[in-house]
Symmetry: D4
Subunit: 246 residues, 8 copies
């Protein structure tokens, strides 16, 4: 029975007076921890626990939310953590796993729900790897099997074609590229799987912080492709996992 059903049942039984029932129904399903509201309903609603975006949070804030999530029986994924922050978190949580290239910290006391399909992450250049790695850590955190293909940019198309069999085995493909952002278009023309395109801020001059790659991907002449924000490896990995668990 849903949480709302339980409340209504209590109302029917006369165990709950109306103002209290109304407050509970309106109040929703989270716990307010002061600086943040931990969304304990998220797992039920979205099928996945909350993730901590570490960019603008202090170590103390991350630690507190982490503890709250662990107490609630959730696994913890912290993204965009600097090396310094990560080292301080590791002293508090010795079981945590730090991936410096992906800038993530992971605590996984509960085994994730496994998915059968393969997620393949293909990236264009060496500098795009940190975004690809964030996608990989995220997808694995949610129980997916991941295969990475690095340095397969379109300027040497044969390097990509050589991986075609591998690409075609994937249930979901993530294609990561900066600069001219052409890789996802070429990949989507070669596979049946849905392609999640991730533009990166790799480049200079008229790259305008990744805008060139972003626009290229949005205007792709290939079908079966959609786009996430610049450098958003987490978002791509999460979405790939959602699709892979269907």
């Amino acid at each position: 029975m849903s949480r709302l059903g339980t409340i209504l049942e209590a109302v029917r039984r006369g165990e709950l007076d109306l103002p209290e029932a109304e407050r509970q129904i309106r109040a929703g399903q989270y716990a307010d921890l002061g600086h943040s509201r931990v969304d304990h309903d998220r797992l039920e609603r979205n099928g996945a626990s909350e993730v901590i975006y570490g960019q603008s949070k202090t170590v103390a804030q991350i630690q507190e939310i982490t503890e709250s999530l662990l107490t609630g029986g959730h696994n913890v994924l912290v993204t965009r953590v600097s090396g310094a922050k990560a080292r301080r978190l590791l002293t508090v949580f010795p079981d945590a796993e730090h991936n410096p290239m992906a800038r993530t910290v992971v605590l996984q006391p509960v085994p994730p729900v496994p998915a059968d399909g393969l997620i393949t992450i293909v990236s264009a250049g060496t500098s795009d790897q940190r975004v690809a790695e964030e996608a990989k850590v995220t997808a694995e955190f949610y129980g997916n099997q991941v295969r990475s293909i690095h340095d397969a940019g379109v300027a040497g198309i044969h390097r990509l074609l050589a991986e075609l069999d591998g690409l075609r085995q994937a249930r979901v493909v993530i294609a990561v590229a900066g600069m001219e952002g052409a890789l996802p278009s070429v990949v989507a023309g070669l596979v049946k799987a849905p392609v999640i395109a991730v533009p990166t801020s790799v480049g200079y001059g008229a790259s305008f912080g990744g805008a060139a790659a972003l626009l290229a991907m949005l205007n792709s002449c290939a079908s079966g492709l959609s786009v996430v924000n610049i450098d958003n490896g987490f978002g791509a990995g999460y979405l790939a996992s959602v699709i892979n668990h269907l």
Copy 2:
């Protein structure tokens, strides 16, 4: 056996001389019809036949490609067809179905491969319906069952919440919105399914032709969401079908 395998087998048997084999392998798998190259390999490679983007093609060109596809045993979907072009096509292909709101023409001699899951398309305002309709026609063309929820913008959030059960039954959700483009973020926070966000050019002033909605969707604070080009209802419907057929 793949087409390449067949060629190699013929080489081994001595039935094909080397220059011809090399030419065939390099030449790939399409038929050149002069102004266009009909990609007969696409069905095998991408799992779906080519679609005719009608915007900048003449009626004569559309007719010729349509005939070529029909001859090849493919179904035909023409997008971005004006009313005038559509009427002329209908005189040539009386079995074609014209959807004026979606601006599509469909010829479907072959039944599409059906998918079990439901695709739900939710749109924000009355003016966004033509894009939502293009997505719907596309998804149905590829054998999907579609449910549409119109006029569910975030300024009256209870209209969206009232459809929550419907939204949660979907295997894939397409969320279409112009103006501030907030709908996909709210929807993605409420469902487990992957959400394909489609910004539209509906709006004025600082909408800048849909750029405002596009940016909002790319920066969504919700997870499980990705974005296609402004007004790209076809792309969203196609991708939703790819995911729904997994």
Copy 3:
């Protein structure tokens, strides 16, 4: 009698010769303190004393203007003060109150004109709190009662709906959000009060320094909402106070 009326009266009485009267009328109502002109007429004209924008001023300049305002019987609000500047100001003005998150310094010898209504400030994410806090300090500086609701972003809409009663008690609402900037649209659809939307520079990639959130708010499909500059917590707090004192 207005200042201009006084001058004209003196002219009529012959107590003021014409060139001097003309000079006084033209000259207006401020005192030139060298690097700045303290606008002593502002309280009468706009109903509020001048505020010191601390961003690009030296500590010496801020100190001098502060002293001038205090001498004139005004309260003092300094905004955009770094921690280092604030600490040096506190040694000069021990009664000053420093709010590090809001980056403000306040000196309030005179009690402000109180307003009856409540100003509610709702912000989307943890990182938006510093802007919300600047709005709060500003509104309180001008005698308003303020209530803050943090971490109520649209990706978990139930967290916002749970605060609906609180939101509806407000006479003026300030809604602060970065990233996709959807919060003010949703809030304005739920309340009768005017909503002041504040985009923040929180985000990355296609956020373009807050431009995405700004555009979303300008294109809101909800009514009863207007927008101030990116990160302009002060402007929102000031305007909310003006409305609340009507």
Copy 4:
């Protein structure tokens, strides 16, 4: 008793079974009319009935929504109506009032709730008047007294200063300007009332469709001012009315 309270009361009395109660609570409060959902709850929630944005709607659609609103006992304001559409609507609704400059059609069987304060609308140039007029029609539709000051741009500042007394009598000021968009900044420096700034698309070249005026207003050095979308006279008039009815 609120609608939710009524449902709960019925549950307590056993007059409503749980599934139906759950459905009703979740379903919210609107009537689905096919192409649109008329938001009959809006008056209670936002204090004002829905308004019909006429830009992209057919005459048939506008007529149908108008009839639905009239039946529901609401007044009707249609904005962005072309002359041709307006003439056709007038044949159906002979009591409707068409304002060609404002591009509005109004049907007002119910007298609006009057507000005491004065709303003053000041515009910079002749070409800005159509936006100012839309704001005026909107504010009057909601029961406000409006005063218009035309052609008071900053290049001849004495024309504005001559209206100072009039400006200072206003409870709310709307300032409309295209080109360099300086008028709201000057006005906000002269009055105590809140100022709603409306950029217009009047201009050419580096005006970029009103973006120059919009940016100027967002960056105003004056306080007590906020901004709505380019050419959004309706939004300004609506917000002014909300503030004026506080």
Copy 5:
């Protein structure tokens, strides 16, 4: 002897007085025809006669410049000519050749200087052909042999790979693409010849009039590639000819 040498020689011989010599040296080398200055020195200076950009010129102006160039012994290429203008020019110059797709009119009484190498023009989609055709007409006008490959976009990369031998025979390659503009990057990774990339305005939404394709080409990860303005088929054809004549 150069024109300047001739003048100096005349000075030395005393056949030219100093003021006249100074005037002639400063005056340079063109003939003023009123509305335009026909640059008769251009052939010597740049190795090619002037070309008439027809976009904003009247038929009368084009006719007059054409006659002036013909009289000077030059061939004539008019670009960006509408069908209506072209038909009127053909009645005046019956020997002219009109290419409606390229929107060019050509008069070629003098055989151009032939070049040995082949220029290959590859374009991505059907709609890009008009730009490719302008490049082709231009290159042929200057005496080059041209080969066109249409509809070879990256979404079906095998169609491009099938043309690899043809591409590699070219001395200069022109790659034309709209939408995501990926074609030139892929081509430049496959050939030794210099690649001139031409972005087109083909696309919609976030294509922003060809800006997406332009940015993609400028940020190409491939080397040996440079870019001309959006839709500038003429510029590409001209530059290819310059390189091919080296």
Copy 6:
């Protein structure tokens, strides 16, 4: 004696009571003609009568303002008048002079104040002439002697150098260019006179409506140069006249 002095004198003499004096001083110096306020003080304040910007005004409005200005003894310059509007104005004002290329209508009953110096207007291409012509008509309207140099773009720099003597005789230079907007930089490097740079919207593709030329001029490496809005021939002619009359 100034107008203000006259009022004060009347106050001193007791001929004017204080409220009336205050009203007059505040009211300033214009006459309200309903849709427009004719600024009769402008000649005294700015040294030049008002000019009618015809773009968005009806013929009736232009006629009414024209009559008001003529009655006030002013000359009349109407800019941005379409051919159709101009023809209708000429039937009302047979003495008016219409310049179709400049899109101006001029009525000059009063001889303008002549200036000694020469204004030279140099433009880059044939299509830039309409902007140059607007500048010319404006400068002549204010009594200046003007010299025009057409078709002197930087791609054939000798055509410009040939006019060097002419350029150096000018007291003020106006340089008009679209496309890459390089002309003003080259000109400013060659002359002592101030150079007013006018970008035009001539161009296509990455010209972005003249933005490319505008940016080039703002970033000029030459000194002694300033810029007006895109296509603003009037503004350049007016400013040149102001400088030339110093």
Copy 7:
């Protein structure tokens, strides 16, 4: 006699052979100092010596060019010099004058050509003073008398009106403003002198590094105004001097 005349005279006399004459005529008039070419002809051509833009030059480079200019009998103005660079230059050139706010270093062995008129520089806010100061140092360097009016932004328009007499005495006005950039428009509406508008990068958020102020100035509804680059105090001071010396 001009330099070119001298060469031709030598040719006529047979004192100069032709190749050498041709070389000299073509070569022009500068001295190549390795990393830079000191333009010794500039004083004659433009009426002013070269100025050293210090931003990206090393102290050694600045020193070398300074010495070369001093040797050539020129005064030296170095702009955009950091404090550290300036201190090192002062040890080499003890007579140099360093203005830290303007970031300039001046060496003036030769008295500049004095101009009679007054240049008035009015700036909007305290933070705009550094740009105003650069303009002031530049104008004084070229022999102009300068008057500065600080902190006269449009939010307190009476502060500007009080300086009206002073403004009207100026022969040229420079108006400096960041944020909404409205000051030049208001000033140009009040004076007869030409107004040089200087946008500054002062502001935040939607100021976009001064772009908002720049656009406002380009779109000014006032006449007699032109614009230089963002923060270009030097350019404004230089141009004001050029005009003031006419």
Copy 8:
């Protein structure tokens, strides 16, 4: 015989089984070194070895790729190397040559294929030299003879004209400029050679990081010119070499 021909020959002879042949044909021609794939086929395919873009690579990564290339018998060019990285590389490869201004490191055990023609690199200002130097190092690395002309901006056009003979001797010209980016247009109007335009990020304010120069070059009114990315000296040098080796 091509590599593909060899494989097919082996198939025909029965020396290669089909699956292996298919894998080899698909696999292409590179060696995977873990973090990077060294493209050993590139020399054959593009006529030039891979170059190491050093910006975002660690010293360890650069060293490893360098060793791999040296082992393969290739020369090594590393671009965008900071001084610190370069010094560490020099300790490992004592024969390497570091150019601090160009930020390159070169190892050239194999003499490059020489080209007969001259490449001339002309740059506008002192600050543009680092980009020009990167182009020079690149062109020399590939066996070209290079001539540099510095400080030849268009504000002193005679400095450029003086180098005309030198410019006209070039087989390919590279023109480098920041700020208004006018130099390539002027140069292309003076020479027969193809001109490669390189915009630089030199400038401030409305330069927008080099976008102004980039747009100017794309909109050039001169023919025979194409553009590479902002600051892309390497790309220009590489392309110039490709053309020069034709």
